[in-house]
């Protein structure tokens, strides 16, 4: 972030905590940026003449006579088409040795879209992954996270989804990315030859956690530029939002706020909503779709972070290791895309809805059969067929390494129905059975 002329400089700090410093200063505005001994900081509290600054990189080694300079403006990003293909840090400064971006200066964390001016999301975003396209179809303007345990390959899945999605720009907001994952993304984008449509804002694990708080707003300010000004379809990837929330709790803790559930700040819901609600279908065709990652602690979705996220986002995608097939699958039971009804059967084949529901219901029957088996009860012929079906359904459709078109997914499902079940067992509408049933027994 470049600073402005006419800076006001102070050199007498009154208080220093782990994350904040306070000093007496005049004419300071709320949210304004400053530097404290060269480190970037933001005004978080004004009380009389005393101004409290949150120092993003921490206050280690800051002396009481540190030089404080105020910028007179909140955090901002220069936006223009030059952003495309570039990598930035949390402050919006290039980290790829390229030149600084010239363009219009926009304050990050800007206002919300008037809900009345929004359009209903209606464009399907195909990914080739059946666990998504078939069961949990994505729609442009949607916001949806992956709920995954830390050991699952969520970043790889997300990179895959991004590269296959038919969008104009992909914006990566990496928070607490390991250096390896950062390089993975970079390599994946490069080798796909898609670098020119990708913009990355990255904070890695070796950088101060509080800096992460700027990442989503930076990424979304860039997204709004392309979606609003250029009417483009923008996909924003945010990983990992759990680390973002952790940074929020660090800050609120150091500002002596009373924590609510799971030592998260009481404002967690609003803080997360402000980010996710930037997902939008705009009236002039542009859109922002957000795919995020929320890492879970041993699958616990009642923790404040996934819980609040679930109330904000339009569904969630669960990654699960399927022990029967050894594949990572998108769990059809716990995953949900709330907006899928807007596109399935409308932009996809007429049988989509019924095939999707039937396939999942039969998979549920298989899991009941499995429970029966584990409890030592006898299995019926139907149970056994369900179990065989489940293995093939999992491998050929739920696994994340699948990459086929939606029609192929539907055909595969019909093939499995025909292989393992009778027509009445599927309970599908007569008319559709007549048209699509595959008898390959």
């Amino acid at each position: 972030m470049t600073s402005k002329a006419f800076q006001r400089t102070y050199t007498q700090l009154e208080a220093i905590t782990k994350a904040t410093t306070s000093l007496k200063a005049q004419g300071v505005s709320n949210d304004e940026l400053a530097t404290v001994a060269g480190r970037l900081a933001q005004v978080v509290k004004i009380k009389g003449d005393t101004v409290t600054l949150q120092v993003f990189s921490g206050t280690e080694g800051i002396p009481t006579n540190a030089e404080v300079e105020f910028f007179g403006e909140p955090p901002a990003l220069n936006v223009s088409d030059e952003l495309a293909g570039r990598f930035f840090n949390a402050y919006g400064d290039p980290i790829d040795n390229g030149p600084a971006i010239e363009g219009e200066r926009r304050y990050i964390g800007g206002p919300s879209v008037n809900p009345y001016k929004r359009k209903q999301p209606s464009q399907l975003i195909p990914t080739g992954i059946a666990g998504i396209d078939l069961n949990n179809t994505l729609v442009s303007g949607q916001k949806i996270p992956f709920f995954a345990d830390p050991d699952q390959p969520y970043n790889q899945v997300m990179a895959q989804v991004a590269l296959r999605a038919d969008v104009d720009k992909i914006i990566l907001g990496g928070m607490g990315l390991s250096n390896d994952d950062y390089l993975y993304f970079k390599q994946a984008f490069e080798s796909a030859g898609a670098l020119n449509k990708i913009i990355s804002f990255v904070n890695t694990t070796d950088q101060p956690p509080v800096e992460r708080l700027l990442i989503p707003d930076m990424a979304l300010t860039a997204a709004e530029y392309f979606a609003v000004d250029k009417n483009e379809k923008v996909l924003v990837l945010l990983t990992d939002m759990t680390l973002y929330a952790d940074a929020l709790s660090i800050v609120s803790n150091r500002m002596d706020q009373i924590p609510s559930k799971d030592s998260m700040p009481g404002s967690l819901y609003s803080d997360l909503a402000k980010i996710y609600e930037k997902a939008v279908q705009l009236p002039d065709g542009g859109s922002i779709t957000i795919i995020a990652v929320t890492t879970l602690n041993e699958g616990d979705i009642t923790h404040a972070i996934p819980d609040n996220t679930g109330y904000i986002t339009e569904g969630q995608l669960f990654l699960r290791q399927d022990t029967d097939t050894g594949k990572v699958i998108i769990d059809p039971f716990r995953s949900l895309s709330r907006l899928k009804q807007l596109v399935i059967g409308k932009q996809t084949r007429e049988d989509h809805n019924q095939v999707m529901n039937t396939a999942v219901r039969l998979y549920a029957d298989a899991s009941n059969a499995k429970t029966k088996l584990e409890n030592g009860f006898d299995l019926s012929d139907y149970d056994l067929r369900c179990l065989d079906y489940a293995k093939e359904y999992s491998t050929r459709l739920l696994a994340i390494d699948v990459n086929i078109s939606i029609n192929e997914m539907l055909d595969t499902a019909w093939e499995l129905f025909g292989k393992y079940f009778t027509k009445p067992e599927t309970g599908i509408k007569e008319a559709l059975i007549e048209k699509y049933w595959k008898d390959n027994k």
Binding site: G27, V28, S29, N30, D31, E32, V44, K45, I46, K47, G48, P74, Y107, G109, P111, S112, V113, N114, P115, Y116, R118, Q120, P121, G141, Q142, V228, Q257, I258, P259, S260, K261, G266, S267, Y269, S270, A273, K274, E277, K278, V280, L282, P283, I301, T302, H303, A304, D307, N308, G310, Y311, I312, E314, F333, R334, L336, L339, Q341, N357, R361, N375
Partner: protein, 583 residues
């Protein structure tokens, strides 16, 4: 003269103002941020310092910015044109705002001041009138919108003049009233009212004595809500709270519906904006939007205005109630409102209660729900406000402050169960945990006898018992295995499944199934109970499963068919054929 002040402190949207003059608690003020006026409300006063919560972002605000106090609390503007409008939490008209983004400091008038309305006087010169009495009416769409003596008028007035029938704008004089001191007061079509104060002006508020039909079977049949009653829907995310609320909004037997989208997803509101102008109100045949007002303060809009939004919605409902209309308030979600209270209490450094919510949360929620009710107006007519709120309990755990506080205040509880949602049994209202206290009211029991069937409550209780028993035996079956229990256990289990599939589950996306009239509900429940009474002989539990699956399938088809249509009767015949083979 207005009091003024200057900003002395800022933490997020809590601003400290040093005041010159007097201020009152909850008074509205505007902070001048270099020409942009930010609306705020006084929430605490100590000495010369007023603590105000700002309804907008405080970015760029500085110490020394000036503040002007308005001398009144947060008010809404009441008059013809409220219906079909879309407002934010502070009643700014979202439709007339310019640009795609919300600009802070931009406030739009809730009502159209240039539109003309056809006015017909009701009162006559010389009439003695008091607050809330009707002076005239205008047609708002198809509704007779009463022009009333403003609620704030105290004592008795005499009508000095009343405007003749004709077309007028809302700000024109409709009547001149003279108070007992001889002073004249002008009445237009609009009045203002502070949102946090309940609108009175009625004679009495009796216990609710009739039910409000929603067309949703698990509510109307199992746990009906009373007209003027209160209910709430708690449930974890993904269990269908919003779908259920939208279903009630589409079908509820009310003349005015106010939907408060409070801290929820913007795309859900967009769905209403997109669908309601197209969908038809099943009661009047008109477009749904004509009877609907939307108060929309989505999760990314300023938090303080979120708190105001539920009150704004309630006040509009009370306004229509005073016209003798049936109003229904749907608040989604009251948890977000409670969270807004929590954020502010936190910034005020108040001592927190459970889960860091303010200690008076329970009282605030009770006060809010207490504003519902059916009332007898001064002219003997009745009007009502029915409230259904949703609650989003953290982690789906109902032992949390908002759910517990609401449970004390609301009389109907529609708990959404994760396990039902996982099995795609929608609406996921738990048939065993949910309740309606109104089923215990003698007035309601009498009403249902009259309206539905003389044995109705007994039937409902029987059905509930079958479901309860079914749950017990299903646990037994799970432990002992299909073969380990007598066939009668399977029968009991399947009878409860029958009630579950035919009465409780309902396809909100199916045109016919989504809306079930009370007569049809009576018919179907009676039929289902008749099936439950049938005696069958089974060789094995598989036979039992098979037969009941068939019965369920036939009756489900009935649910999908037009009531008593040819198709419906065809399935009924099939059913009767099976039943005649019983014993």
């Amino acid at each position: 003269m207005k009091s003024t002040g200057v900003v002395t402190g800022i933490i997020a949207n809590l601003v400290t103002v040093e005041v010159t003059g007097h201020v009152s608690q909850n008074e509205i003020c505007y902070i001048d941020l270099d020409g942009t006026k930010l609306m705020a409300e006084v929430i605490k006063v100590t000495g010369k310092n007023a603590f105000v919560q700002v309804y907008e972002s405080t970015r760029g605000l500085k110490k020394g910015h000036t503040v002007e106090f308005e001398g009144h609390m947060l008010e809404v503007m009441l008059g013809p044109g409220l219906l079909s409008s879309s407002y934010d939490g502070l009643q700014n008209n979202l439709e007339t705002m310019e640009g795609v983004f919300l600009k802070r400091g931009e406030y739009t008038s809730p009502l159209d001041h240039d539109k003309k309305w056809e006015f017909t006087p009701v009162a006559a010169v010389g009439d003695k009138v008091t607050a809330a009495e009707w002076l005239g009416e205008v047609k708002e769409g198809w509704l007779p919108h009463k022009i009333m003596v403003p609620f704030s008028f105290k004592g008795e007035y005499t009508v000095k003049s009343i405007t003749a029938k004709g077309e007028y704008k809302i700000d024109e004089t409709m009547a001149v009233l003279v108070d007992t001191a001889g002073e004249e007061h002008i009445v237009t079509m609009v009045q203002k009212w502070p949102v946090k104060v309940a609108i009175g002006g009625f004679v009495e508020k009796p216990r609710p004595y009739k039910i409000m039909e929603t067309g949703v079977r698990c509510i109307d049949t199992f746990n009906p809500i009373a007209e003027g009653g209160t209910g709430f829907i708690p449930g974890p995310f993904g269990c269908g709270k919003t779908v259920l609320q939208h279903a009630i909004a589409k079908q509820g037997d009310a003349e005015v519906i106010v939907m408060a989208a409070c801290g929820e997803r913007a795309n859900e509101v967009v769905e209403i904006f997109t669908e309601f102008p197209e969908l038809v109100d099943p009661h009047t045949g008109r477009k749904l939007m004509e009877r609907t007002t939307i108060i929309c303060n989505t999760s990314n809009m300023p938090v303080a205005a979120r708190e105001a939004s539920v009150y704004t919605a309630m006040t509009i409902c009370e306004y229509y109630r005073a016209m003798g209309l049936k109003a229904l308030l749907l608040a989604d979600s009251t948890s977000r409102w409670a969270q807004a209270l929590r954020e502010m209490s936190n910034r005020l450094e108040e001592l927190p209660g459970a889960d860091a919510f303010p200690v008076d949360l329970s009282a605030i929620i009770s006060n809010f729900y207490a504003r519902a009710g059916i009332v007898k107006l001064k002219n003997g007519q009745t009007g009502s406000v029915t409230v259904i709120g949703t609650v989003s309990p953290a982690g789906g755990n109902l032992k949390e402050p908002v759910t517990e506080s609401t449970k004390k205040a609301a009389r109907c509880f529609y708990g959404l169960a994760q396990i039902r949602a996982d099995k795609k049994r929608y609406p996921a209202v738990d048939p065993i945990d949910s309740y309606s206290k109104y089923l215990e009211y003698d007035e309601i029991i009498d009403y249902l006898r009259e309206r539905v069937d003389k044995d109705w409550v007994e039937k409902v209780n029987r059905a509930k018992n079958i479901v309860r028993k079914g749950k017990e035996v299903s646990e037994q079956i799970n432990i002992l295995g299909d073969d380990g229990v007598p066939i009668s256990y399977h029968e009991q289990f399947w009878k409860s499944e029958l009630i579950d599939f035919i009465i409780l589950q309902q396809d909100a996306f199916d045109k016919i199934d989504s809306l079930t009239s009370i007569d049809r509900q009576e018919y179907m429940l009676t039929l289902v109970l008749r099936v439950c009474d049938a005696q069958f002989q089974f060789e094995s539990f598989e036979d039992c499963n098979k037969l009941y699956k068939e019965l369920i399938n036939i009756m489900k088809q009935m649910n999908y068919s037009e009531f008593k249509s040819e198709q419906f009767n065809k399935y009924l015949e099939q059913l009767n054929k099976i039943l005649s083979n019983d014993k």
